[in-house]
């Protein structure tokens, strides 16, 4: 599963990076063909309402989504992991309020929260990434915290403490490496969620709205054409989102299967 997932993701990233070379048409050139024309030899995925070549837009349209997903995971990692480490390792004075805050955020409908933040912050890759990251930080926090709670009681941690290892040393040099595998699982599943959330926010009109082609935007934009029967305007960008999110889900599923042998009989 991990291998399939990695293959999909590598393929999509390579395609996006190489898009200026491999796209048959300029993805943002208007009227390269008739508007809303069905898939044909000249336009394998048809054209959209503006007569843009959908195939070229698919090849080039992943960058915004990948940037937002990558950046939001980075933000989650940088905030959720240290907070989880500290909360799990410290006494109740620090742990309780942090946990209460994170639990409130976690209980919240993620997309609804992201909508509120994205609506207030306004458009842009960074703003969208923040809106999505806030939703997932509690997931990192909770997993890291619960792992730390068990790991900190293990003999090897005690040993380092007895030898006089400082708190920071114990936390980041001893405990952190042992938490990393779980973080890898959450991160890969989280990227998939970010991709879908990004597409959802864009669909609701809260997207980055750049001049560059974007799968999420194309689904939003194709809606009217689809109702008129031009299914290809929505089908292909949708499949690209599914492929990207699916790739990451496969990686996450595979990793958690490897790391959780209890489920294998």
């Amino acid at each position: 599963m991990v291998v399939i997932g990695i293959a999909i993701v590598v393929f999509l990233v390579a395609m996006t990076v190489l898009s200026p070379v491999i796209a048959p048409h300029n993805p943002t050139a208007l009227s390269v063909g008739p508007a809303d024309s069905a898939p044909s030899l000249a336009f394998p995925m048809g054209t959209n309402r503006l007569g843009e070549d959908i195939f070229s837009r698919m090849i080039a349209g992943g960058s915004t989504m990948m940037e937002v997903a990558g950046l939001s995971v980075l933000i989650c990692f940088l905030i959720g992991v240290p907070l989880g480490l500290v909360a799990g390792y410290s006494r109740r004075m620090v742990d309780s309020p942090l946990s209460l805050l994170m639990d409130s955020l976690y209980a919240f409908p993620g997309l609804v929260l992201a909508i509120a933040i994205a609506a207030v912050l306004g458009r842009g890759v960074v703003n969208l990434s923040i809106a999505i990251a806030v939703v997932y930080i509690p997931t990192y926090f909770r997993v890291v915290r619960s792992q730390v709670l068990t790991i900190k009681e293990l003999p090897f941690v005690e040993a380092v403490k007895v030898e006089g290892g400082g708190t920071l040393n114990v936390l980041f040099r001893q405990i952190f490496p042992n938490v990393l595998p779980s973080i890898a699982v959450i991160a890969s599943i989280n990227v998939a969620d970010s991709v879908i959330t990004e597409a959802g926010l864009t669909y609701l009109g809260l997207g980055v709205n750049v001049a560059a082609p974007d799968w999420g935007f194309d689904i939003y934009y194709g809606y009217q054409s689809l109702l008129a029967g031009a299914w290809w305007t929505v089908l292909f960008p949708g499949l690209m989102v599914v492929l990207l999110a699916g790739g990451f889900t496969f990686i996450g599923e595979g990793l958690s299967e490897v790391l959780n042998p209890r489920l294998r009989r």
Partner: protein, 342 residues
């Protein structure tokens, strides 16, 4: 801990959570860069008019006073006054709620039925081709954005084959408190309303409108149920009492359902509570896709209008709703499984 004291403790714990949540949303709208009123009305509006509007909406007092007013208002069921039509937000949300509720209930039914059945099947056929196919189905369905799934269903069943309607809740325009198909709108749940009126035509029509949106949203949520049922069944079926039951020569079906599923299903209940939040998020996207006049559509209109008070109201409403649902689920869970009342 007795069940009674567990319920009281759990209910008391909900209060700080909800309060914290309301505060977070309040701060997001007030403290993040930009004056919400200015963002809504644009820079062109003249300062006196803007000041008048802010005064009317209570936005000209210091932030702590606004917070105090907001919280006290909340206890009286007041969610503030919308920018766009200067009407109270709470009644607008309440009138949109039945639509969202009807969609959610239908979708949850689809999700649980599909998810649990496939999960049981896949645990029974562990490691077989069928297991792999079902798990792949789970991954794919979970990776499909719910609105994209909805759009596919629309183009197949509504546009290509004309079997089901592409959107809306019932044919024709429905005024609140008015009649549809001769059915008086009482609860706002059109299926319930038409049953109450004994109107078969209305019921069939309302159900026809529910099929596509509930399938889209239900399949999306079903992936979670599938996964949790499968892994719990695998764990339950590996227990000694299951082996003992098999050794006693009980039928596979009996072992599967009476011994495996009964213990495998408890966590499904918890997931139902947790997934309620996901359901609400998915409902927003599904409503937009299917022109479903619920809270999701209300939020999207508020986004377009840059009506932050309306957005805040809807978000707070969803937050409180989800907290209450998880409270109910936890209590139910404690009732069913005494081990949980530590």
């Amino acid at each position: 801990m007795s069940l009674k004291s567990y319920i009281i403790t759990r209910a008391l714990l909900t209060i700080p959570t909800v309060l914290l949540l309301v505060t977070i949303v309040f701060l997001i709208v007030r403290v993040l860069p930009g004056d919400p009123a200015l963002l809504h009305f644009g820079k062109t509006v003249n300062p006196t008019a803007l000041a008048a509007v802010k005064h009317a909406l209570g936005l000209d007092v210091p932030i702590y006073a606004q917070y105090y007013n907001y919280i006290t208002g909340l206890f009286q069921g007041n969610l503030g006054i919308a920018f766009s039509n200067e009407q109270p937000v709470a009644p607008q949300i309440l009138s949109a709620f039945p639509a969202t509720l009807e969609l959610s209930i239908g979708s949850m039914m689809v999700a649980v039925i599909v998810g649990v059945l496939l999960g049981v099947r896949s645990s029974r056929k562990y490691g077989s081709v069928e297991d792999v196919v079902i798990r792949t189905f789970g991954v794919v369905v979970y990776s499909i954005p719910v609105f994209f799934l909805g759009l596919i269903l629309i183009s197949v069943f509504a546009i290509a084959f004309h079997i089901l309607p592409s959107g809306g809740r019932i044919e024709g325009l429905v005024p609140t408190g008015g009649t549809i198909f001769g059915v008086h709108v009482r609860t706002g749940l059109y299926t319930v309303d038409s049953v109450l009126a004994g109107n078969l035509g209305g019921l069939v029509d309302a159900l026809r409108h529910l099929v596509l949106p509930c399938t889209a949203l239900g399949l999306y949520i079903s992936a979670v149920f599938l996964r949790i049922t499968r892994s719990n069944m695998l764990e339950a079926l590996g227990q000694e009492y299951v082996t003992a039951a098999k050794a006693r020569g009980l039928k596979e079906r009996t072992v599967l359902f009476s011994y495996g599923l009964r213990n495998g299903l408890l966590p499904v209940l918890t997931i139902m509570g947790l997934e309620f939040a996901g359901l609400m998020g998915g409902a927003i996207l599904t409503e937009t896709t299917f022109a479903w006049n619920g809270i999701g559509t209300y939020i999207v209109t508020a986004i377009t209008d840059r009506d932050y008070i309306a957005i805040q109201g809807a978000v707070v409403f969803f937050g409180i709703l989800v907290s209450l649902v998880s409270l109910v689920v936890d209590i139910l869970y404690a009732y069913l499984d005494p081990r949980i009342r530590y």
